[in-house]
Symmetry: C2
Subunit: 266 residues, 2 copies
């Protein structure tokens, strides 16, 4: 039986003819003109972003760190925003969690039960018992960091393993096994990485969450066919280019819709 | 100039003649008799743990996930407990964070500025730009996951690299470079791991944070000389065996003091 979050992502990409996910990475210093530079202002801003984007994206991906950066009022806002996002648009909380088993169970409870996430992201480093408590939420989806979009991917992820291939390839192959067992394991693979096609070729049926397109430099038109190669599920995240892309003086909601419309396959 | 948190850990281990750090991993279901099974009950419990442990440990290490597992009231409690912990006992918030650079900066702000951490823990997977924003808080200390105490350490951490050694060794060697540059980079190495001595031999001057002693199976007496070999700084964490070790009917605070006293070098 297909995981319900994966099924919803597929339905949304058919309904809305796009693969874009809107990343909600609020920076109080970058709010457009007209929004107070306060936590309340950020909430008003993100509420508008969600309303303007609905129907033009397949998911939302708030990164919890940007809410934590505002302290508790920011985290409270994150939990409140779930109620503003339509229930049929998956809410991917980018938390990059992972700890020993009994602790990961607490993390999963926070992400899924307290914050209302449909999906989250996980660090692979601590291995099997650190990710299973998340996978045991069968109706949720988890994207494990495979090959990330940042320059630091060179530090460890791309190092070669004794058995051949890079560390990121080893992580992907293990995620394929986990996905076979649990049905709810995806991968984060950066759109900035030339290895995206190779990653897709070894990743079995794991859905991809692709950061790094837009402000980080990856180009959507080039990334899309590679990411979905063979009919796979891909969620292509854009944050800064959507949130802060409206030119000064332009209507902010119109600007978001115009930007997202560029990625709709007419 | 020695990092002030490292200096405080050294001073405390001399003052109190121990290397034990008390891990604050509150589980509402495990509270001793006499404490309400509510968030307020947990706060009363941890307040007593801190009071009973003061003078018998060199640091406290709350794992943020156990507080998150209680939702926002749990996180609020975590921030309030900082004021109960003496200022000269480092407050290591075990958060296991790490994201792309601009996001890690938000994470560091949450840990250090909002929650009052003196030290934190980091996932190495995403590499250089993911950890630097933490290191740039020069007066704080960061323990990067090297070789963790859990069974999942086998999944990736112990895999062999093309250049020789395990992934965990590569991470440790990189941490030595970072510590040379920033002076505030330590390592998490599990007390359950037979490789502890090897880890100490290659870890230069990086201080160690050692989980896995006590309930997880590592033995303090065996771990201590290996962890401090050559006069290095080691913080040996114990959580469950201290928090929940008092037999039913025994005085809870006395039980904690008696347990911690076992590890004081008289």
């Amino acid at each position: 039986m297909l995981n319900p979050v994966i099924r919803q992502l597929v339905e949304n990409s058919q309904r809305f003819r796009t693969h874009v996910c809107v990343g909600l990475d609020p920076d109080i210093q970058k709010l457009p003109y007209g929004f107070d530079r306060t936590v309340a202002g950020v909430k008003a801003f993100l509420t508008e972003v969600i309303r303007a984007s609905t129907g033009l994206c397949i998911a939302f991906k708030p990164n919890i760190s940007f809410f934590e950066g505002m302290g508790f009022p920011g985290l409270t806002m994150l939990s409140e925003l779930r109620g503003i996002c339509p229930t049929d648009v998956p809410w991917i909380i980018d938390g990059k969690r992972g700890d020993i088993g009994n602790t990961s169970a607490m993390q999963a409870r926070f992400m899924f039960d307290h914050l209302g996430a449909d999906a989250t992201t996980l660090h692979p480093y601590m291995g099997d018992d650190s990710v299973r408590p998340f996978f045991e939420y069968h109706d949720k989806l988890n994207f494990v960091l495979g090959l990330t979009s940042n320059s630091g991917a060179d530090t460890f992820e791309k190092l070669g393993m004794a058995t051949g291939g890079g560390l990121w390839e080893t992580v992907i192959r293990r995620c394929v096994d986990w996905h076979h067992e649990f049905g709810n394991v995806g991968l984060v693979v950066g759109g900035t990485q030339g290895e995206l096609g190779k990653a897709r070729a070894i990743a079995g049926k794991c859905p991809f969450l692709i950061p790094g397109v837009g402000a980080q430099g990856g180009a959507y038109d080039q990334v899309l066919p590679v990411a979905t190669g063979g009919g796979h599920v891909a969620v292509i995240n854009m944050s800064r280019s959507i949130l802060y892309g409206t030119p000064p003086g332009g209507d902010f909601s119109d600007g978001i819709r115009a930007e997202l419309s560029k990625f709709v396959n007419h």
